[in-house]
Amino acid sequence: MYRAAASRRPLLLAAVAVAAVLAVTGCDGGAIGADTPVSSGQSFVSHSYESTFYQAGHRPLAPIVSGLTVAGKHLSLAAYRGDTIVLNFWGSWCAPCRAEAPALGQLARQLESRGVRFVGVDIRDEPDSALAFMQQFNVDYPSISDPSDEIALEFRNTVPPADIPTTLVIDRDGRIADRIFGASSYSELLSVIDQVIGRQA
């Protein structure tokens, strides 16, 4: 918070007038939202697919997260050191996640031989429901259960997930090479992974 404010102070000074305009947009109808705290619920508006590629040298180091999987086993990203990791934040209640799940399950099986490991982070979910989801969409790779958003929080200083689903592609050096907001198709995700693996030589 304060860190962010401090680092942006020059920007603020540079744009005093503009600041004033933006101000109003920020202080708008808070009351409306506050009155109906739950009316929109988990209204994660499905953004259209949005991929951001980070050039080598500009890739934030991914935190080595760990936790209990949906199936109840301990899992740490440290186990996949040296591999390319596709980290997918999902929930069984999230419709866009359901749409992309078959493609992810398929890619996970296909790319294992190329050193690509898939790991899920199951957000705000109920374990039975999550297991049913994985079974339904043939998702064989493990998912860390994250009911209290601790895993998501670990990424706050790197490339935090801001949408569900969010997919991070972590290169062999453990650095985040690509971030995808929204559901990705089989070909979209494959080309992103290819780009990450290809540039690593």
């Binding site: 918070m1 304060y2 962010a4 404010a5 942006r8 005093v16 007038a17 600041a19 004033a20 305009v21 933006l22 101000a23 109003v24 947009t25 920020g26 708008d28 109808g29 808070g30 409306i32 939202g33 506050a34 705290p37 739950v38 009316s39 929109s40 619920g41 988990q42 209204s43 508006v45 499905s46 069984s92 209640w93 999230c94 419709a95 359901r98 749409a99 957000i123 705000r124 109920e126 374990p127 039975d128 429901s129 049913a132 989801f133 339904q136 009911p147 209290s148 958003d149 998501a152 929080l153 706050r156 200083n157 790197t158 490339v159 935090p160 997930p161 801001a162 949408d163 969010t166 559901a183």
Partner: protein
């Protein structure tokens, strides 16, 4: 024409030497605001022809920075925010906007083109706001310079005829003119007057705080606008529903509604996490206040950041938890019945609480849905009603009280396509029944532990009990404190500028022919604020009298060696023309009478030529 007059006042304002001129110069600030001022541009240069391009620019600037324009803009700003509360807004409730598009297919695109679904980000809204800001800045900044100049100004030369001033008093004293002036200056300086001195006169001014107050008010106003802006840029607001026994972290994916400021990224949120351990709500159980809430109390633990010590907190309404500058408010609560859904294959597909949303705040009758998209052989969906205190109202169950005294759940089941696998995001609180078929189920209200076996071998649903949830509003507004501070400063400035008067006091001393010294004291308040100057002047006059009497100047009889006289009395003694002509237009007649009242003995003595004994005892 008033404009030329004000121009004249402006021209002389800086070099005025008489108090009367200063009076009109005082009005300069207000005169400059007058719309007619525009014509100054031409009269200044003596041109009868139209304004040049520069003239028009100046004219435009004056118009923009006039108080009238600022007020109009302020009103426009209020007016422009109206559509924001009448029409659904994209940033607040996108679903409502979509709905509006569907119900008004012709009108919606036009409204959208006018940015009416995003009013606070609309260019025309920005235009109003920017103009207002410019107008205020353009008004305040030059004024600041003027006020600073005015605050540093030295008191002007004393007017020749002090008796013409609204307040005046005169004395005859035995001390020399120089001593009299010196003592006057000392007295006034002691009363924190600003002093300037000249040949035979002392002039003093006080009340510069008025200018400071004025300045403070204007600067604080700008600071207030700026602070509000600060919150909009670096602040954020979010909402989160939290069921007892669950926790969350302040990160975008965990928030139900997240409205960041313009420069707030997903990683900029305060990294605290909260776990909810319990929630208690108490209600009035009898009397006219029946079923009104008494208190809400959420028992939670929090961590300021991962790895930080875990602290406990009792969260109550209007008693927010503040972590790292972020406030977390308790703004709502409700029930989350616990369900267990087993599908046709015998596998448990859901086992946990589902938040139901109150549809009736007084009885907390709540509605919610359960979606089981991965049930086999078919997807299952349920729409339910939760009654915290179910009572039979003529064959119909209703909730009679918000507390869960007799909780019951009734469910309607559906199977078919929930519409979730297409990827279209949907609310977890709504069931889209377009692809669903209602199951033939008896609408039997369930008590905790009861189940319904679904037809066609689709499975079983059980109601196991209930949990409570709270909703939290998370707000971070770095502009809040500065806004409060500047609002208070503005108020203080306003009060100062209303209460403090600028007032001037002049003293002249001349040696009279009989060897005594004639001292005249004159005073004037420069602003027409609430009275009080008369009293102050009277006090000053009294003090000056004492001051001029001390220093070994005593009469042989032991009387004070000074005679104070009201102007009217002194005037009769001195120069009849001076008072005679001015008596009518001077407002100070009654005030001088009060000065007289304070020293009735002295004034009579002065009037009857009691100055001669003083002169004879002049011992310095």
């Amino acid at each position: 024409m008033t404009s030329t007059e004000s121009a004249a006042a402006r021209a002389t304002g800086r070099t005025t030497t008489t108090a009367a001129d200063e009076l009109s110069a005082t009005d300069e600030l207000t005169a400059a605001e007058a719309p007619g001022e525009v014509a100054t541009v031409t009269t200044d240069r003596g041109q009868a022809t139209g304004l040049g391009p520069l003239g028009w620019l100046r004219w435009g600037w004056r118009q923009l920075t006039s108080m009238r324009t600022a007020l109009i803009l302020l009103f426009l700003l209020a007016l422009a925010s109206v559509p924001g509360s009448v029409l659904p807004q994209q940033g607040i409730d996108p679903a409502a906007v979509t709905q509006y598009y569907q119900s008004h297919p012709a009108l919606a695109p036009i409204l959208n083109r006018l940015s009416l679904f995003n009013v606070f980000a609309a260019p025309w809204f920005a235009a109003i706001y920017l103009l207002l800001f410019t107008s205020l800045a353009g008004c305040v900044l030059p004024r600041t310079v003027r006020l600073v100049g005015s605050a540093r100004q030295q008191p002007p030369r004393a007017p020749t005829n002090l008796a013409r001033l609204p307040e005046s008093a005169s004395y005859v004293t035995a001390v020399s003119p120089a001593t009299a002036l010196e003592r006057s200056a000392g007295l006034l300086r002691g009363r924190r007057f600003r002093i300037s001195e000249g040949e035979g006169w002392v002039s003093a001014e006080k009340g510069y705080l008025r200018e400071a107050g004025n300045l403070l008010f204007h600067v604080a106003l700008l600071a207030l606008l700026f602070s509000v802006g600060l919150g909009g840029i670096f602040g954020y607001k979010a909402n989160r529903l939290l069921i007892v026994g669950q926790g969350f972290a302040d990160t975008p994916t965990a928030l139900d509604v997240f409205r960041p400021g313009r420069l707030v990224g997903p990683g900029d949120l305060a990294p605290f996490s909260i776990n909810l351990h319990g929630f208690t709500a108490r209600y009035v159980t009898s009397g006219p206040q029946f079923d009104q809430p008494l208190f809400y109390d959420a028992n939670l633990s929090y961590q300021a950041q991962p790895g930080a010590p875990v602290r406990h907190y009792q969260l109550e309404v209007n008693h927010p938890l503040v972590v790292d500058g972020v406030s977390v408010y308790l703004i709502g609560h409700g029930y989350a019945p616990i369900f267990k859904v087993t599908d046709g294959t015998g596998r448990v597909r859901w086992d946990g609480p589902v938040a139901f949303i109150p549809v009736d705040q007084t009885t907390l009758t709540s509605e919610g849905v359960i979606k089981v998209p991965d049930a086999k052989p078919g997807q299952l969906g349920f729409a339910g009603v939760f009654l915290p205190s179910a009572v039979d109202e003529g064959g119909r169950l209703e909730s009679a009280f918000p507390e869960a005294l007799n909780p019951r759940v009734s469910l309607v089941g559906f199977t078919g396509n929930l519409g979730m696998n297409s990827g279209q995001a949907q609310s977890v609180y709504q069931l889209d029944t377009t692809g669903l078929k209602e199951l033939p189920m008896k609408p039997r209200p369930l008590a905790a532990g009861q189940s319904i076996k679904l037809p066609d071998g689709l499975g079983t649903v059980s109601y196991l009990g209930y949990q409570q949830w709270i909703s939290l509003a998370i707000t971070y507004d770095p502009g809040q404190l500065p806004a409060l501070a500047s609002a208070m400063a503005a108020l203080a400035g306003l009060i100062l500028s209303f209460l403090v008067r600028r007032r001037r006091v002049f003293v002249r001393a001349i040696a009279a022919a009989d060897g005594s010294t004639r001292v005249t004291l004159g005073g004037l308040a420069r602003s027409d604020a609430a009275g009080g100057f008369e009293t102050e002047f009277a006090t000053l006059a009294g003090l000056l009298r004492t001051e001029l009497a001390t220093g070994g100047v005593t009469t042989p009889e032991g009387e004070p060696g000074i005679v104070a006289a009201a102007r009217s009395v002194a005037g009769a003694d001195d120069a009849a023309a001076r008072t005679g002509s001015a008596a009518d237009d001077c407002a100070g007649v009654s005030n001088t009478a009060s000065t007289m009242d304070e020293s009735p003995r002295a004034s009579t003595a002065g009037g009857s030529g009691g100055s001669s004994p003083l002169a004879s005892t002049e011992g310095e």
